[in-house]
């Protein structure tokens, strides 16, 4: 099958949805013809669809989301880009109090078909203000859906689902995934939210991993397999809704779980997954749960420091061995 990068897969989804539905439009800082997005996801789209539908904005994150909300409740389907996930901090009211709550507060009178795309993640030495992973905040906000594709295939299919849906979706990408290649069908396909992928089946332990960590988990699983340890790797693909059943089913099989996410450990995504298992699959656990996540520090700049705090193949392997 044809291979595309994650970046190109995202762009293809945007492009096809814009062709399909005239109410879909994009807005964000430097997404237009002059820069094409900080990670070039929107390259060529302004040229194809014009500056009205691929709209460069001022550096005003709060208004970007607020404007997208206003457009979403009046018949449009905006896809807003926040250049770096760390900058969602500037738009938390519009995301979490407005976009997330409008459907509820107004008794279901309106929907908010809005997608907010933004990249998270460390690994390119751009320090504390450009490297965070903040998925947990949005998981903790009812009214939002949260997507977190780890492959080009998922990126295209989930983004299409997000754009066609009627709820606000936080669509999280990872900086290191953009250049990654994978098979992407040419045809129009969507991927349902809330259905996890079992990336590798295994018997001895389960690894739950998200975004870029899926790839590190797979590498770790491969290495472990060589050592005679069979690991099952689960990628939830969306965090809200979260495919609890897939997690529980795997734990029932393996009796052990290592949860690998790039966000900070305390009160992060991994805490929720651990809590679900402790609440709903405790009896199947043969060993304590293990979280592999960023220690609770901001992301430092210098390469050796940054590499130290990001979970990696080795720390994952170590954790798996600890639960065996």
């Amino acid at each position: 099958m044809r291979e595309l990068t994650y970046r190109d897969a995202l762009r293809e989804a945007l492009r096809e949805e814009m062709v399909r539905d005239k109410t879909v439009f994009l807005l964000g800082e430097d997404i237009g013809r002059y820069w094409s997005g900080a990670f070039k996801v929107t390259k060529g789209l302004a040229e194809e669809f014009g500056d009205e539908r691929v709209r460069d904005t001022p550096i005003s994150e709060s208004a970007i989301i607020g404007v997208a909300v206003g457009a979403a409740i009046t018949g449009m389907r905006p896809v807003a880009e926040i250049m770096f996930g760390d900058l969602t901090t500037l738009a938390m009211d519009q995301i979490c109090n407005q976009a997330a709550k409008i459907c509820y507060m107004f008794g279901g009178q309106t929907t908010v078909p809005l997608v907010v795309r933004t990249p998270f993640g460390a690994g390119v030495n751009i320090a504390s203000h450009h490297s965070q992973s903040l998925e947990a905040w949005f998981m903790h906000t009812p009214g939002l859906l949260v997507a977190a594709p780890s492959t080009p295939f998922d990126a295209k299919g989930l983004l299409k689902t997000a754009i066609r849906g009627n709820n606000p979706v936080m669509f999280f990408e990872h900086k290191l995934l953009y250049p990654i290649k994978g098979e992407v069908p040419e045809d129009d396909y969507t991927i349902p939210f809330g259905v996890a992928d079992v990336k590798i089946e295994g018997e001895d332990a389960t690894i739950f991993a998200t975004l870029y960590m899926v790839h590190k988990a797979l590498a770790a699983a491969n290495e472990l397999r060589k050592q005679g340890i069979s690991v099952e790797v689960i990628d939830p693909k969306t965090l809200v809704p979260l495919d609890k059943q897939a997690i529980i089913k795997s734990v029932k099989k393996t009796g052990r779980i290592v949860i690998v996410t790039e966000d900070c450990k305390t009160a992060g995504v991994s805490a929720e997954v651990a809590a679900i298992v402790a609440e709903e699959a405790l009896d199947y656990l043969d060993a304590p749960i293990k979280r592999v996540a960023e220690p609770d520090t901001p992301i430092p700049f210098s390469p050796p420091l940054e590499q130290f705090v990001i979970p990696n193949e080795k720390t994952i392997i170590k954790a798996v061995k600890e639960v065996l």
Binding site: G66, Y104, G107
Partner: protein, 318 residues
């Protein structure tokens, strides 16, 4: 100058708001209104003067002090009252309450209780109008206090650069809770801030229905013709405290009295009579109708059932 019909319509609206709000005040005295409440009494000319320029398919966004905006845009008094009382028959099925009323069927895009948060949403509606290619407009209401929020700045700038059909209506009632404008702003006229975005800004007497009407008429006209946004500052005053239990002792007595004299309702009534647009009898008849409608709203609201507890779990997602 508005037509006679428009004039009477605006008079009806300010009366509807006034009587409605006085009733809400009474009801919460009787402990029938849960939570807090921010009354619009005294500011009626703004909502009425602005909304008289709007079509049903035009939009507004509103604030914590939003009953007047809803009513002037044409909302059903019964459903507004029911919502304020937390009933299932309210606009938002009791989920929103006083600070979160919306009626999408008349373009009332909802009130937000986060000060300033509605401003970019109004701009978004403006952008939507532009992208859909209609000739609608949107009026975004907010207070003097809200004009110090970052959203004010970001939003007006965006509307300006994209020349969107938005009328920014700043209701300057001189206070944000207990904070006088002069404590939090060096400038006197908030409309002067329009300069920062290269758009027109006008300051009008917000207790004069006609002044508000005319300023809005110009702004709406420009907006419908693609000439972009306007910032209209309406100087006005709230007659009551900020919220439920506020005795408003931070306001000098003389100031309150002076403003009570400028009450928009008797002023507009006198004006209409002077213009021979409204006879005493007509005025009385109209007021009676309004009183009846408000009473009906109270009856509807108070007799409506509360939502069932489990309904709390509905509408989180579409």
């Amino acid at each position: 100058m508005p037509t006679k019909e428009k004039l009477i319509e605006m008079y009806r609206q300010i009366l509807r708001i006034r009587h409605f709000e006085e009733k809400v005040y009474e009801l919460y005295g009787q402990n029938l209104v849960p939570g807090t409440i921010h009354l619009y009494v005294g500011q009626e000319a703004v909502a009425a003067g602005v909304c008289a320029n709007l079509r049903k398919d035009d939009y507004i966004t509103s604030t914590h002090r939003g009953h007047g905006h809803c009513i002037a845009k044409g909302a059903d008094l019964r459903k507004v009252m029911a919502e304020i009382l937390g009933r299932k028959t309210g606009y938002c099925k009791g989920k929103g309450g006083s600070m979160h009323i919306a009626d999408f069927s008349i373009g009332m895009l909802g009130a937000t209780a986060v000060v300033g948060a509605g401003i970019p949403i109004a701009v978004g509606a403006g952008l939507s109008i532009r992208l859909r290619g209609t000739d609608q407009v949107v009026a975004g209401f907010f207070g003097d206090g809200a004009s110090n929020q970052g959203t004010f700045h970001e939003s007006i700038n965006m509307a300006a650069i994209w020349s969107l059909p938005v009328i920014f209506v700043c209701e300057n009632n001189l206070y944000a809770m207990g904070t006088r404008q002069s404590v939090v702003m060096k400038i006197e006229n908030i409309a002067d801030r329009a300069v920062a975005y290269g758009i027109p800004g006008v300051t009008v007497d917000g207790n004069d229905v006609l002044a508000v009407y005319e300023a809005t008429e110009d702004a709406v006209d420009r907006a419908r013709h693609g000439e972009g946004p306007t910032l209209i500052e309406c100087k006005t005053y709230r007659h009551k405290g900020h919220s439920r239990f506020d005795p408003a002792t931070y306001r000098p007595k003389a100031e309150v009295e002076e403003w009570l004299k400028k009450d928009p309702i008797p002023r507009f009534k006198a004006k209409l009579q002077e213009m021979q647009m409204l006879t005493k009898q007509e005025a009385e008849k109209l007021e009676q109708e309004v009183i009846l409608a408000v009473e009906e709203a109270v009856k509807f609201g108070t007799e409506s059932p509360f939502p069932a507890p489990e309904e709390a779990l509905e509408n989180v997602y579409a």
